[in-house]
Symmetry: C2
Subunit: 402 residues, 2 copies
């Protein structure tokens, strides 16, 4: 808070997921607001119904009735704007909130706009901070993990690798028919939908959640980085399949993120060559990335490498659907995407001990019917040494044993 | 849009879930912005990676590169605020956005505050609307369902009842030990965590997701309306259990919401009497609720009824943890909570044909170790006739057959 010269952090929100709130609440998941004055512990304001959930944070918990919400509401009845103005003023008054206030969270845009424009300007001795940079405050906090967090992230990595292993083994028990369709012992085709159901069951058994879905995309779809794949598509031999898996642990909210590209039975020479180039880029980064450098340096090296092989990149051809068209990596922890970012432009701040981030180069040719991406989550330990959290083989070919 | 005199609806957001965006995108789930000019179809701006997902909306899809994002970024490099200002101006200019603009969505609060304060005031011929009421625009749209939506909601109801049936039957296969613990054939205690795992598996088999979790709370926890229950707690006979189940269908995003209170083996006279009173309140509403009335009328009737029996309510004792301390019901559809609301104060607008909403009275006594709630989702058909979507018996006693 000192860096951004803030006197108060106010995390606002309703029942939507709200990562900054969850973070300040030590993982407790309760709708409401969290307020932290500089040098003091956070406090929360939640509905009486949420007291139990919020209490798990260890913080002092208020309800709206500690700020006379019932009496104020009675006075204004259905005039909700009048209620909200007076209630917000009561909260600021009773908690002694004044000075430079940073306003954070995930919330309804219209409500936030109304508060900013109609309510906060009328609160006494309050300066709401509209500095773009102050928005980075929570990212600064997320960016560096302590050893306890690394232990949780290691568990997320191990459970994720178990699911990917089980998925690979499940597919490999099938065989191919004369047309290259992957089928079971009864000749029934294996669809992407069936594979995803299998994966969800594996997750369930390990306490993993797919809060942001998953990507299991074949052929042309694998060539669109965020295409999640079509459930009714049958798996086929000799097609690139991008399996991007980013579950989180239900127990503590920490994510893992890994991607493998598979080609069932065999790979076409074109997919194999593209795969080798992606692994080349992956190894360039994994073998050289070090603390003190800006993440954008490595995005630049991967751009150099792919461009030297004749591929378009988002640097040489912004907006291109072909070639290498995304960032090299991102931090993760309680968010699936957070600082540090390895992209074309720096956001300030070098890579540091305690950073946990992905390395995920890829090459995409949707019109040619394929795409390739390989991704590990890695971290720098307290001595700045790089370790891979993801532990799963890089093989392209997924052999059928069925 | 006419009601609020808006020329443009701008739904802003990032990768967070964003219900207004999903609604305008016809269910397509893609990060980005959706913009609708009055009298025109919505258009979306998404990253090139999201084109496939966004295209499922049927709308025209732009990427940032259609607004020269690459060139603007190149010019400003790491000066992100400068980039965002110029990029937003380019979007407004090229799409011809002007006049009264309603700003909607779910997004990062700090970013929204910055846009409102630093960017929008500088856009030419733009008046951002800060009217509190304009925030209700999407609620107006959600509030009335058409027959196609009712068909989806009926399916969600049927699948939910299947899961609750399976859960009841699963529990009933156990037996009680000498201390009243519910145990399996090997004497192993049945925990809430095990029941929730069973429920998640049932969901998975039916394509249901627990986007907002579930409540399976026993004893004192059942007396805290939003307590989700403790995983390591063993089920016991003669304790009230509140099972509040609000899954959504993965396929189309529609929710169901139902609650049953169970007491395994037998009920104490106190819990049975409280249960009878809750069912009394439930029946008062279910037997009388009709189109044209304001939802707050029925909250008032339930307050009257419970108060006449000596219970505190949120009307007589705002902020009380005991008695009846929440709203009688809420609309649901693509949101688990939406208009209409049946609470102490009206939000304007009477109940109408096509409304889908819950009826969920409850009585809570955490210090006495119990709570009771019963909830059905109901709807008014096009003729204003009430139907229950929830179809599951109201029995309090869950007998053990094990």
């Amino acid at each position: 808070m000192g860096k951004y010269n803030l006197d108060v952090i106010f995390v606002y929100g309703g029942e939507e997921p709200n990562m900054h709130r969850t973070y300040l609440m030590n993982g407790a998941d309760a709708g409401g607001w969290v307020i932290k004055k500089r040098g003091a512990e956070p406090v929360a304001i939640v509905s009486p119904m949420e007291i139990d959930n919020a209490g798990k944070s260890g913080h002092k918990i208020y309800t709206p009735f500690d700020f006379d919400a019932g009496e104020i509401r009675q006075r204004h009845k259905s005039d909700l704007p009048a209620f909200e103005r007076e209630y917000m003023a009561a909260v600021f008054d009773k908690l002694g909130l004044s000075g430079r206030i940073g306003f954070y969270g995930t919330a309804d845009v219209t409500r936030v706009a109304w508060l900013i424009h109609e309510v906060f300007p009328n609160l006494p001795n309050v300066e709401v901070v509209y500095d773009f940079q102050a928005g980075e405050l929570f990212q600064d906090a997320y960016e560096t993990k302590d050893p306890d967090e690394i232990i949780k992230l290691k568990l997320a990595a191990r459970l994720s690798a178990e699911v990917v292993t089980a998925t690979r083994d499940f597919i490999s028990q099938h065989h191919a028919d004369a047309d290259g369709n992957v089928v079971d012992a009864n000749g029934q085709p294996l669809t992407i939908g069936a594979v995803k159901r299998f994966i969800r069951l594996q997750n369930l058994e390990r306490g993993l959640e797919n809060a942001h879905g998953m990507i299991f995309a074949q052929g042309r779809d694998a060539g669109i980085p965020h295409s999640e794949g079509e459930d009714d598509q049958t798996l086929k031999t000799g097609q690139s399949i991008v399996f991007d898996f980013y579950p989180r642990m239900a127990e503590n909210g920490y994510y893992h993120d890994m991607t493998r590209t598979w080609s069932i039975g065999y790979a076409t020479p074109e997919v194999q060559a593209t795969y080798d180039q992606v692994m080349g880029a992956f190894n360039i980064v994994a073998d050289s990335v070090k603390v003190g450098d800006d993440g954008s340096l490595y995005q630049g090296r991967v751009n150099d490498y792919f461009e030297s092989q004749g591929h378009k990149t988002s640097r040489s051809h912004p907006g291109s659907m072909d070639g290498y068209n995304h960032g090299l990596g991102h931090g993760l922890g309680l968010n699936v995407h957070e600082a540090p970012h390895m992209s074309n432009y720096t956001r300030g701040g070098a890579l540091a001990a305690g950073n946990v981030f992905t390395i995920e180069p890829g090459l995409y040719y949707p019109d040619k019917g394929y795409g390739v991406r390989v991704e590990d989550t890695v971290y720098f330990d307290q001595n700045g040494v790089l370790h891979h959290l993801t532990d799963f083989p890089y093989d392209l070919i997924l052999p059928l044993k069925g």
